[in-house]
Amino acid sequence: MGPLEHLPVLMVVIFFCGAFLMPLLFRWARPICAPLMVAILAAALVMAIIILQSVYQLGPQLYHLGGWPPPWGIELKVDLLRVYMLLVLFVISLWIFIYALRDLGNELKEELIGWYYTLYALLVGSMAGIALTNDLFNLFVMMEICAITACAIISIKEDRECLEASFKYLILSAMGTGCFLLGVAMLYMATGYLNYDYLHGSLVEAIALYPRNLLLAAALFIVAFGTKAALFPLHVWLPDAHASAPSPSSAMLSGLVIKIYAFALLIVFYEVFPAEMLQGVPLNEIILWLGSLGAMFGSIYAMLQTDLKKMLAFSSIGQIGYIFMGIGFNHEMALIGGLYHVGVHAVTKAMLFMAAGVIIYATGVRKISDMDGIGRNLPLTMAAFAVGSASMIGLPGTGGLISKWYLSLGALEMGRPFFVIIILISSLLNAVYYMPIVINAFLYHGEFQFRVKPVPRVMLATLIFGMIVIIISGVFSRPAVVLLEDAVSRFF
């Protein structure tokens, strides 16, 4: 093994080191900051790929930080599921960062950019930590880092709206963390462990002794992760926060941050809680219903919006609903669908926010009604928007269809065709609010009324990359699906 053995922890540590270096370097060696960040993100991506290979060869691996064994030491785990999440995380954060390089100058004061890099590195590092960790306390620490940096990359813009939104986010997020901590305390009280594997083993007996406490803990977890992942009806903070943030931050928050909490919920529910625990009270059913309500209401709210970024933010609430439905069905196919949607929606929504960012950069337009005819001036941007919309609706040839296919298949396997209808109706609602934007952009009769600045090539290149990924995820989806099949087969 040699040095490769330490890769899991390195993936987290390089981000934290980078985060500390950035403010210093930004003061004394400004030009190398951005390349260094790109290098860090790329290095993390390469490490994730190496780990993927070794997991394929050797199976899941555990890493003990500092050589301290569990249940006391910090344990990190790499398996296919986590590596999938890490790959999504690193690819998309690298991609968003390259976009951000050009966009940030437009949205932030010059001297804040160094701090933005710090926050970005911390955010990605903490998300990698959430994905990798194998104990609840470590998860708690990483969640705190993630929550605070996520607030900070909203409020860094320093206008009234951003501060208000990030304050709202901070309070609700802190409430979620509080619930989580309370839940962790209950589990610790009942079992004496925080490590996932030990917890899983001892919970089987503990259920008989403390049934109510453990159920309460599970409920607290749903509220905690639900708040942070904007599960309906705990989504109230999301629209303001995601809409007012700088566009790269919006892409990051909507694309990745809410997904990582959904992923954490998945891990806790499938890896930590034994199956008996979920039998007494239909916790899955609750997640399923909340997810489907989110899928419906997120879309309905999105239809009512006049601001483009607000609309995209509400659409995220609908889309995260699909992911929670995938978790709630408790069926292999649906879980694959939900996890596939984690990746697909991350790419799609990040790209849509980037396209919105390009529109704001080039024209300053934020209102949907002002965008009529914009397709003639920004053809590539609006083409990207069209591809993203197609994926949101789930048209064939885009990744959105594949996740819906698996979700629906899972629903049918569980004998619940009703939920397929919910998925279809919410797809229709998506069509109702995405399509008119694309149509009016390209086929509007009059001229676009605003002045258009030229768009930097790098920004357009990132959009093209997004389009390609979305189409690949819809057509050549087989390898990813096979990986996910292997990853989740151990739960069923």
Binding site: I393, G394, L395, P396, G397, L401, I402, K404, W405, S408, L409, L412, E413, P417, V420, I421, L424, S427, L428, A431, V432, M435, P436, I439, L443, H445, V475, F476, S477, R478, V481, V482, E485
Partner: protein
């Protein structure tokens, strides 16, 4: 013909138009002539390649080939059998003629560099639907074609067109989602959605019924079946006339094709009969026929009247499918051909009149036959065929359908066909009789000198007339005797489908 030749040919038929789309788009930057000729050549080549498959179709070759797997157990595949051939041949033929017709018709229109690539891409996706080897590929091409057709519908970009287009788009997406639901249920119940398996679902169940209804919604929406026809009378008239001809003459048939595949490949004749599902289809078909004809009577705009007529004609095809015996299926398949010929003539002729004179109101068309005798002549041939006058192909369809209804012991359906023919006569004859026997623009046709008929010939260009004449000849030739190629193909198709339709 060997299997590999067939596979190469059908891949070419699908891929050629799709590849030519960007080529035509970029060609339009250099020269309009190049763009137009490329469009004509592409559609012509597609037609020629399709016709080259004729011997294989008549020999009864069936080829099924997987291209690649999208997901485990779910692949993109292509298939060739006689039903695919029939539909692909007629649509590429009509497409070719409509492209030629477009050259002159669209010369005065705006945004032609959008129109031609879209037209050719729609051809490619339409052929893709017919040669798809499983329902998933079919669904992919179906959605592609439906979305592309939107751009044809709203070509004029008027307020009215945009509204009609939006309605079309919403209905298309509802239909697409219903199809998705149907396909996924089939996949769940049968483990495959391939067309090469015969009847995928063997027994009736609640889910199977839901799947059938979903397919009925998805494909029926496209075919203008009651009560999902609401988009059709708005969307077809607002498109440019060659596009209307394609929408009504060809693209509607994709819905009928899909339903045929569903009935014979997902379910089977026995299952349809034992579940009583043929009755669902039959009732809807009867309502569609009568409602389409009745509403057509009240229309004053010629293209709207034609659009409602399309609804009622597609009802015939659905009726044939619901009866499910040899004669009825033959009639349904033959009517797919007949209606493609007739309705393209009618829309192209209406287009020629609108192009030349700007008249859209039927009341203003008095005496137009004297100005445009060839156009109106072709129009009359098609209208008479619609009514079902004997030597024309419309008669042969109705005759065969009626035979099928009688074989099945359902004389009621014959009555419906007769009533609908009467209604057809009621709304087509008032167009053609005044066109030839009234004075242009004259209100006083009783007092004017009827014997002195003057011909002030102001015809459309030869480029627009020749497709009309060719189609009118087809209407006549393929109706004269039941011993024509098209009718024989329909018979073979029907026999093939009733044998199970699989490999």
């Amino acid at each position: 013909m060997t299997d590999s030749t067939i596979i190469v040919l059908i891949t070419l038929i699908i891929v050629l138009p799709i590849i030519m789309t960007p080529v035509i788009f970029f060609a339009s930057r250099y020269s309009e002539r190049l763009r137009n000729s490329l469009a004509v050549i592409t559609s012509g080549l597609t037609f020629a390649l399709t016709i080259a498959l004729y011997p294989a179709a008549v020999q009864g070759n069936v080829v099924q080939q997987t291209l690649f797997e999208i997901l485990p157990r779910l692949e993109l595949s292509i298939r060739f059998d006689i039903l695919s051939f029939c539909l692909a041949a007629i649509s590429s033929f009509i497409w070719f003629l409509c492209t030629i017709y477009s050259l002159d018709y669209m010369a005065k229109e705006h945004a032609c560099s959008r129109y031609y690539p879209v037209l050719i891409l729609a051809l490619g996706s339409c052929q893709g639907i017919y040669f798809a080897g499983d329902f998933f590929s079919l669904f992919v091409f179906f959605e592609l074609m439906s979305l592309i057709a939107y751009i044809l519908v709203i070509h004029e970009e008027t307020e009215e067109a945009m509204r009609a287009g939006y309605k079309y788009l919403v209905m298309t997406i509802i239909g697409g989602l219903a199809l998705f639901f149907g396909i996924i249920i089939v996949f769940e119940l049968g483990g495959t959605v391939s067309l090469g398996v015969g009847s995928i679902i063997q027994e009736t169940s609640f889910l199977a019924l839901i799947a059938f209804i979903c397919f009925l919604i998805g494909f029926g929406m496209k075919a203008g079946m009651f009560p999902l026809h609401v988009w059709l009378p708005d969307a077809h008239p607002v498109a440019p006339s060659p596009a209307s001809a394609l929408l009504s003459g060809v693209m509607l048939k994709t819905g009928a094709y899909g339903l045929l595949r569903v009935i014979f490949h997902v379910f089977s004749v026995d299952l349809m009969l034992s579940g009583g599902w043929d009755t669902i289809l039959g009732v809807l078909a009867v309502i569609t026929i009568l409602l389409g004809s009745a509403v057509a009577l009240t229309q004053t705009d010629i293209k709207r009247r034609l659009a409602y007529s399309s609804i009622s004609q597609l009802g015939y095809i659905l009726l044939g499918m619901s009866i499910l015996n040899d004669n009825a299926i033959t009639g349904a398949v033959f009517h797919i051909f007949s209606h493609a010929f007739m309705k393209s003539i009618l829309f192209l002729a209406a287009g020629a009149i609108i192009w030349k004179t700007g008249i859209r109101k039927i009341a203003d068309m008095r005496g137009i036959g004297r100005q445009m005798p060839v156009t109106m002549g072709c129009f009359s041939v098609a209208a008479l065929a619609m009514i079902g006058i004997p030597p024309l192909n419309g008669f042969l369809s109705k005759w065969t359908l009626s035979l099928g209804a009688l074989d099945a012991g359902m004389p009621f359906y014959v009555l419906v066909l007769l009533i609908s023919s009467l209604l057809n006569a009621l709304y087509y004859l008032p167009i053609i009789i005044p066109a030839f026997f009234d004075v242009p623009g004259g209100e006083d046709h009783g007092t004017g000198d009827q014997h002195e008929i003057k011909f002030n010939i102001k015809e459309a260009t030869p480029g627009m007339l020749s497709p009309l004449v060719i189609l009118a000849i087809c209407t006549l030739v393929f109706g004269l005797t039941p011993n024509n190629i098209v009718f024989i193909l329909s018979r073979l198709t029907s026999a093939f489908l009733l044998l199970g339709g699989a490999l």
